[in-house]
Amino acid sequence: MRYLCLIHAERTYEDMAEDEAVPLVREFRRFTEDLRASGQYLGSNRLLPAATATTVRVRNGRLSITDGPFAETKEQLGGYFLIEARDLNEAIQVASRIPAARHGAIEVRPVAAPIRLPGDPEPAAAEARARV
C-alpha cells in the first residue's frame, strides 16, 4: 500500500543558518538513500516556504486568487515522501525516521486506489491483488 508522508514544520532550510541546514540536508539524503535501498521509496519533493504559496478558487465561474497557503498555521507543509509500506505500522516506522519528525510533525495518509467508473477497463490482475 502507498502512503504519503506530509512533512509539517515551523521552519524550512530558508530559515536556517548554514551550520544547521547542511547537516540536516545530509541527513535527509542518507534517509532517502536508505529508503531507496529498502524498496520503500516512491518519490519525494521539498517545497519552497509557505510565503511563496498562492491559493486558487473558482466560485460561480469567477477566479479568486489569494496570497498564502490554504490553511494559515504555525507549522507549514514543507515537503513530502511517497512510500510503499505493508501496513500502517510499517508506514509509521518509516515516518518516524524522517529527520524532520524530530522538530516538526509527519502526517501519514494512505493513498486511495483510483476510482473505477462503469466502462473503465478491468484493473490488471496484479494491481487488484496488491489492493487486497
Binding site: 500500500m1 501496513d87 500502517l88 505500522n89 494512505p110 478491468e122 490482475a125 491483488r129 487486497v132
Partner: protein, 426 residues
C-alpha cells in the same frame, strides 16, 4: 428420535453458554482468517452461531465447539464474499484465496488462538485511533459489550458510541492498521497504550468522572477481566502491576460508599469490609511485578495500595514507606497528580503543615488549578490546621469544579460543618 421441549431448551442453553465463553475468541480468529475485516468477521460470527442453533440440536454438541464455529464462520464468510463478487468482480479472487485450503480441516492450535486475542487487543488499542474510540472498540470487540451498554457506562449517547466504533473500524480497514502483535521493539510503547485503555475503563468504573453514583461495578469488572486476560497472554511486569492495582482498589469497593451512596474516605473506611481474597491476589501479583527488577508506574501504585491494604487503620499505616514509594513513582512517571498524592502522604507522616506547603507549591505552579481533588486536599489540610476560612474557600473552589454528585455532596457536607477542631483562624 423426537426432541422434547426440554432437550431443545437444554441445547439453547448450551449454545448460549458456548457463546458467552467462546464468542470473543472465535471473533478474534475469524478477523485474522478474513484478512482483518472486522465487519465481515462479525457477520460470520453471527452466522456461525445461527448455524449452531440449527445443527447442534440434530447432530449433538461438537467435541470442539470453538473449532466448529471458526470453521462454520469461515465458510459463511466465503459465501458472503462470493455473493458480493457477483456485483464486484475484484472480490472474486479474495473469496477464492480465502477458500484455498478450506476443504481440509484447519490445523487447530490453542497458542495461535491466544495470539489472535492479543492481536485483537493491540488492534483495538492502536495509537493511530482516537483515545475514546480505543476504549469503545475494546469494550465492543474484546469484551463483547453492546453499543448501548458502552454508552450507558460512559453516559454518552448510543449513536455517538456507534459512530466512534464505525469510524475506528473504517480507519483500521482503510489506513491498513495491521492485525498483528507488535514486534519486541514496538512492544513497550504499544503495551503502554493498551494498559492505558484498561486503566481508563477501570477508573471510570471505580470513580465515575460524573453522574449519580461513585462506582460502576460493571466497568471495573470488565477492566479486571481484561487485566486477567492480558496477564494470562502477556505476563509482563507492568501488566501484572496494573492487574494488582485494580484488584487492590476493587477490594475496597464496598467500604468506599455508605449504604445511602455517600463517599467514605480511606481513613474512615470499615476495613473489615475490605475483600481479603482480592487483597491477597493483588499483593502477590504486585510482589511478582516488583521482583522482576523492571519496575514501572503501575506496579509502584499497586505497591502503595498494598501498604494501605495491610494496615489495620490509617494511623498505623507505614506512611514513610508510602512516601518513599511515591518518591520512586515521581521519578518513574513524573506528574502533578503523583506529587499531590505524595503531599498528602507527607501530611500523614510529618503533619498537615508539611503537606500543605507542598500542595500550595503545586497549586502555585498552576498545574492542578482546575483539579477539584487538589483544592479538596488543601481544604482538608487547612481544616486540620484550624484555618477555617482558608479551608472553606478551598472546599468552595473544589465544589465548583467537581462533577460527580456524591463528591459534590461530600464537599457540601464539609462546607456545612462547624469549624473543625476548636482553634480559629489566626
Amino acid at each position: 428420535m423426537a426432541w422434547s421441549e426440554d432437550d431443545a431448551e437444554r441445547m439453547r442453553e448450551a449454545v448460549e453458554s458456548v457463546y458467552r465463553a467462546e464468542s470473543r475468541r472465535v471473533l478474534a480468529t475469524l478477523i485474522r482468517l478474513l484478512g482483518g475485516d472486522f465487519d465481515l468477521a462479525e457477520e460470520a460470527l453471527h452466522d456461525a452461531f445461527t448455524a449452531a442453533l440449527d445443527r447442534w440440536p440434530r447432530d449433538g454438541l461438537p467435541s470442539n465447539p470453538r473449532a466448529w464455529l471458526v470453521s462454520a464462520g469461515r465458510f459463511k464468510a466465503i459465501d458472503v464474499l462470493r455473493r458480493r463478487a457477483r456485483f464486484d468482480a475484484s472480490l472474486a479472487h479474495v473469496a477464492d484465496r480465502l477458500g484455498d485450503g478450506v476443504t481440509e480441516p484447519e490445523p487447530y492450535d490453542d497458542e495461535g488462538i491466544a495470539d489472535d486475542r492479543l492481536r485483537l487487543v493491540f488492534t483495538c488499542c492502536h495509537p493511530a485511533l482516537p483515545a475514546h474510540a480505543r476504549v469503545a472498540l475494546t469494550l465492543r470487540e474484546v469484551c463483547g459489550l453492546t453499543t448501548e451498554e458502552i454508552a450507558r457506562a460512559f453516559l454518552t449517547a448510543a449513536p455517538t458510541v456507534a459512530q466512534r466504533i464505525v469510524r475506528a473500524k473504517a480507519k483500521i480497514r482503510d489506513a491498513r492498521i495491521p492485525y498483528r502483535v507488535p514486534s519486541p521493539a514496538e512492544l513497550p510503547e504499544r503495551l503502554g497504550t493498551v494498559l492505558q485503555v484498561v486503566y481508563l475503563v477501570f477508573n471510570e468504573g471505580y470513580s465515575a468522572s460524573s453522574g449519580e453514583s461513585v462506582t460502576r461495578p460493571d466497568l471495573t469488572g470488565e477492566a479486571i477481566r481484561l487485566g486477567r486476560l492480558l496477564t494470562e497472554l502477556l505476563p509482563e511486569p507492568e501488566v501484572m502491576g496494573l492487574l494488582a492495582l485494580m484488584l487492590l482498589h476493587e477490594s475496597r469497593r464496598t467500604a468506599r460508599t455508605s449504604a445511602d451512596g455517600e463517599i467514605v474516605l480511606l481513613e474512615d473506611q470499615d476495613r473489615a469490609l475490605w475483600d481479603r481474597d482480592l487483597i491477597a491476589e493483588g499483593t502477590a501479583l504486585a510482589e511478582r511485578a516488583l521482583s522482576s527488577g523492571r519496575i514501572g508506574p503501575y506496579a509502584l501504585q499497586a505497591a502503595i495500595s498494598a501498604v494501605h491494604a495491610e494496615s489495620p487503620d490509617a494511623a498505623s499505616t507505614d506512611w514513610s514507606q508510602i512516601v518513599g514509594l511515591y518518591d520512586v513513582l515521581a521519578r518513574a512517571a513524573p506528574s502533578p497528580v503523583v506529587e499531590l498524592n505524595r503531599a498528602v502522604a507527607v501530611a500523614m507522616r510529618d503533619g498537615p503543615a508539611a503537606g500543605l506547603a507542598l500542595v500550595d507549591a503545586i497549586l502555585a505552579r498552576g498545574d492542578l488549578a482546575d483539579y477539584h481533588l487538589a483544592h479538596s486536599a488543601r481544604g482538608e489540610l487547612c481544616r486540620r490546621l484550624g484555618r477555617t476560612a482558608d479551608a472553606r474557600a478551598a472546599y468552595r473552589r473544589a465544589l465548583g469544579l467537581a462533577k460527580q454528585e456524591p463528591e459534590r455532596r461530600l464537599l457540601a457536607r464539609r462546607l456545612a460543618e462547624p469549624a473543625a477542631g476548636s482553634t480559629t483562624t489566626g
